[in-house]
Symmetry: C2
C-alpha cells in the first residue's frame, strides 16, 4: 500500500444530493441549468486538488421535477465549459450506451479529451429509465441483459476507435506536402451483433492516449462490464465489509479477464452532511429533511420498489418485493440491505433514502469524515470516493476547507497536483494504441486483439 | 431595404479553405486538431463584429488526409470552448440528421445555447459521404430522397422539443417547495415514419428561445427543407444572377409554406484571397496553387464527377457525366456550370476548384472585396456571406482589418454589436413556444400545429 493515494471526485448533482438542497438559503433554484454553477463547483474542487468532477446523466425529463432539480444540460457541453475555466481537474461525463452510437460518442469524448489537455473520463451507463427509452423510439426499457451485451460491444468499439490513430500519424511536413501518414491511421473494421463500424476515428489521440473508462452500476452484468473495461468504478456500498467484498470480487474478475486488477480505482459514492459539531450536522440534516417537498421521499422509495405508493404501510416493514429485472438493481439492493441490516420501518427507510440518492451518507464533523474515509481507504474497501455534498457549492466548500486539510495532514491526499491528465491523477498508465503495438507482433496476434476488444 | 444590415460568418475550415493553406509560412500543421486555433479565430471574428463562426462537419476520416487537414474535432465541443472565450459572436455548428438521434441532438444544441447565452445555430445537413455511412452500420449512403425525408421529420422533432418548455415553467419557490410547473413542460408525443419521440426535452429554453436553424445543401430536396425550416441558409452561388434567382425562389417557396420568407438570412459561401494590390493577390493565389500537394486537385474534381481520375483528359473539356443522385449535387452543378459558362478545360477547372471547396472565390484587394460584397448585398442576391479565408487565421485577420472598415464606412456593416444573441445579430424574432401560444387558441388548432411541425 506504500505510495497509495486517496482519490476524490465530486459528483455535481445539480443543487446537491439532498432532494431539498435547492430550498436551502445558499441555493439558487435556477442554478441546475446554468453552466456557471458547474464551473464554480469545479473551481472549488480544483482548489481542493480533487481528481475529477463527475456528471451523471439521464436523457429524459424525469425524477419528479415538480419537487426538485435534475441533470438538465448535456454533460460533454458542460465539461467543455468547465475545461476552459480550470487547468488540472479531471472531467468525467456520463453517456448511455443504449441511446448513443459508438462513433459519435467516441468522437465527442475524444474531442473533449483534446480540448481539455487529456483530462476526460467517460462513465459508461446503460440507462434503466423508461422515460428515456420513450425519447428514442422504444415503448419500454430494453431488457437488462441486452442493454449490457450492447454496452460491452459498444465499449470495445469505442476503445478501438480511440486507438485507431497511432501517436505519430501526423506528419505535417510543409516541405514535402505530406500531411497524415495514413498507414498509421487504422480502420477498425468492427462487425458485431450490435454494431458495424469501419473507422478510423477522425480525431487524433490526446495527451493521455484516450479518455479514462469509468463504470457505474453494480448488477452482475454491470460488474462483468467493469471487470473487462473499467479503469475507475463508481460503486454503491453502505458498509465497509460490503465495499471490501466488492473490491476483492471486481479485482479477481478483472484478473480473469487478463488485467492486473490492482490499478482499478474504486470509488464508492458518499453523501456528506457536515457540521462543526455532531449536533450541528444533525440539525443540518433535520433542516434538509424538513424541507423535503411533498411526498417526494415516499414516491422515490416506491419507485425503487416498483410498487404503488398508496399500497405502502409507513409503519410496517419493507414489503417483500422481487429484485427488478430491468434495472436499478443496485439501489434496490441497497434499500433492502439497509431494511434488513438495521431493521427499519418504511418511514425510517424513507428518512434514510427518500431525500438522497441511495448512496451511503455520513452526517458528522470534518474529523469524523476524515476518520471514516481513512478507515475505508486503509482497509482497501475504497481507493477514494465519489463525493456528493448535500448542498452545492456550499457543502463542497466546507469539505475542501475543513476535511481536505485533515486528509492531507494524515498523508492520505495530495497537497498539489503532480500530473496534468486524469490518468496521471488516477495513477493509470497511458495506453499505447493496439495498432502501434501490432508493428512489433505478428499480424494475426494483432487482429485477434482487435477482435477481442482488448 | 432601409435598415437592412450585412451579415458575415466565418467558416472555420481548419487551416483555411485552400487545400495547401497548412503549408503557408504562417500556418501550424497541427492547428486543425487544436481547440485554441478555433478560439483564436473566433476572437478575431468577434473583433470584426461578425455575426457568427460556422463549423462544417463530416463524421468520418475523409477528404484525402494524406494531403490536407480536415474537420476533426466535434463541433459542439469546439463551440462550447469558443463560447467560454467570447462574449457576443454567434456559434453555428453542423450536425447530420442521418447519423444522429433528434433527442440527443436537440439536447446538445439546447445545452450549448444556454451555455453561450443564446448564441447558437444548428446547421442541418444530411451527409452524403459514404465513409460516414460505414461508421454507422450502413454499407452505402442512404438514398438522397430518404435522407431528406428523414431530415424534414428530424427538424420537426427537434423544433418541437425546443418548444417543449414554456418560458415560465421554472417556479423554484423555496417557500412552497414547488420546483417546476409541470403543466408548462409538454410531451411532444411525436410519431412519424422515422421517429417516435415522447419528450419533453430536459433542458429549459434559452434566452433566444431556441437555436437558429441553418441549412446548407442546394439540391431540390435541400431547398424544400430550407423553405420549410431554415432561418439562415449557407448557399453556393458563383454568379450574382444565380444567387438572386436562388434567393427569389427560396423566399417564394417559404411563403408557400406559410412563412414570411423575407427574414430568411441567405449567406452564399465566399472564398477570399486578399492582397494589397491585385497583383499581390494573384501572387498569393499562385503560391497557394503551387503548394497544392500531389494530385489532390485532380482527385477532388474526379471525386465530384464520380469518375476514375485516370480516365480524365486534362486538356479536354469536362466529360459529360450525369448529375449524381446520391449527394453532392450542389458542388457538381457548380463545377459543370463553370465549365459551360467560362469554357474551361479540365486543367483550368482543377485550377479553379481543385484547391478550393467549390464555392465562389474572390482574388483581389480589400476595395474589390468590399465592392463585390456591396453589389451582391444591394442587389438582394445575398444578405451577407459565409466567408472562407484562404489561410486561417491570417486571411481572416486581413479581412477584419482591411475589408470590415470599408464595409462599415459604406454603412453596410455594424460598428459594434447591438444584440447579445444570434437571433438578434441575424434580425430574427425570438420564437414563442408553440405550447405557450396554444393557451390562447383552441386545443385542436394547437395540436394540428404540433402535428405539422410548424
Amino acid at each position: 500500500m506504500a505510495g497509495r493515494t486517496l482519490h476524490l471526485n465530486v459528483n455535481i448533482l445539480n443543487a446537491g444530493f439532498y432532494s431539498s438542497a435547492w430550498r436551502m438559503p445558499s441555493s439558487d433554484p435556477s442554478a441546475f441549468a446554468a453552466v456557471d454553477h458547474y464551473v464554480r463547483i469545479a473551481q472549488i474542487a480544483e482548489r481542493g486538488t480533487f481528481d475529477a468532477v463527475f456528471l451523471s446523466d439521464v436523457p429524459a425529463f424525469s425524477d419528479r421535477p415538480e419537487y426538485r432539480p435534475f441533470q438538465a444540460l448535456e454533460p460533454t457541453i458542460v465539461l467543455a465549459r468547465v475545461a476552459a475555466a480550470t487547468d488540472r481537474i479531471g472531467l468525467i461525463g456520463t453517456a448511455s450506451t443504449t441511446y448513443n452510437d459508438p462513433y459519435n460518442l467516441a468522437r465527442r469524448f475524444a474531442s473533449l479529451d483534446i480540448a481539455s489537455g487529456g483530462r476526460v473520463g467517460w462513465n459508461i451507463v446503460t440507462t434503466a429509465d423508461p422515460s428515456a427509452s420513450r425519447n428514442f423510439g422504444f415503448d419500454d426499457v430494453t431488457a437488462h441483459a441486452t442493454r449490457y451485451a450492447r454496452a460491452g460491444e459498444f465499449a470495445e468499439v469505442v476503445k478501438a476507435l480511440w486507438d485507431s490513430w497511432e501517436d505519430d500519424a501526423l506528419v505535417g511536413d510543409k516541405a514535402t506536402g505530406r500531411f497524415i501518414d495514413t498507414s498509421k491511421v487504422h480502420a477498425i473494421d468492427h462487425k458485431g451483433p450490435f454494431f458495424d463500424v469501419k473507422g478510423p476515428l477522425n480525431v487524433p489521440r490526446s495527451v493521455q492516449g484516450r479518455p479514462v473508462l469509468v463504470q457505474a452500476g453494480g448488477s452482475r452484468d454491470g460488474q462483468a462490464l467493469a471487470a473487462r473495461h473499467a479503469e475507475a468504478i463508481f460503486s454503491v456500498a453502505h458498509t465497509l465489509e460490503e465495499a471490501l467484498a466488492f473490491a476483492t470480487a471486481i479485482r479477481t474478475e478483472a484478473r480473469a479477464c487478463g488485467r492486473s486488477g490492482d490499478d482499478i480505482v474504486i470509488l464508492p459514492g458518499l453523501g456528506t452532511i457536515i457540521g462543526s459539531t455532531q449536533a450541528e450536522a444533525r440539525r443540518r440534516e433535520e433542516e434538509l429533511w424538513s424541507l423535503m417537498p411533498g411526498d417526494y421521499g415516499l414516491r422515490r422509495v416506491a419507485g425503487l420498489l416498483k410498487v404503488d405508493p398508496a399500497s405502502l404501510d409507513l409503519d410496517g416493514p419493507l414489503p417483500g418485493t422481487a429484485l427488478p429485472t430491468d434495472g436499478m438493481q443496485t439501489f434496490f439492493q441497497a434499500l433492502v440491505g439497509a431494511a434488513q441490516r438495521d431493521g427499519l420501518t418504511l418511514r425510517q427507510l424513507i428518512r434514510k433514502f427518500g431525500g438522497s440518492t441511495g448512496h451511503r451518507v455520513i452526517v458528522g464533523t470534518p474529523e469524523q469524515m476524515a476518520d471514516d474515509i481513512e478507515a475505508w481507504f486503509r482497509a482497501g474497501a475504497a481507493d477514494g470516493f465519489n463525493l456528493m455534498p448535500d448542498v452545492l457549492p456550499e457543502g463542497l466548500e466546507v469539505f475542501v476547507d475543513h476535511v481536505v486539510p485533515l486528509l492531507r495532514r494524515r498523508g492520505l491526499f495530495r497537497h498539489g497536483y503532480t500530473g496534468r491528465t486524469l490518468r496521471e491523477h488516477f495513477g493509470l498508465d497511458r495506453p499505447e494504441s493496439r495498432y502501434a503495438q501490432s508493428r512489433y507482433a505478428p499480424a494475426s496476434a494483432a487482429s485477434s486483439r482487435v477482435a477481442s476488444g482488448a
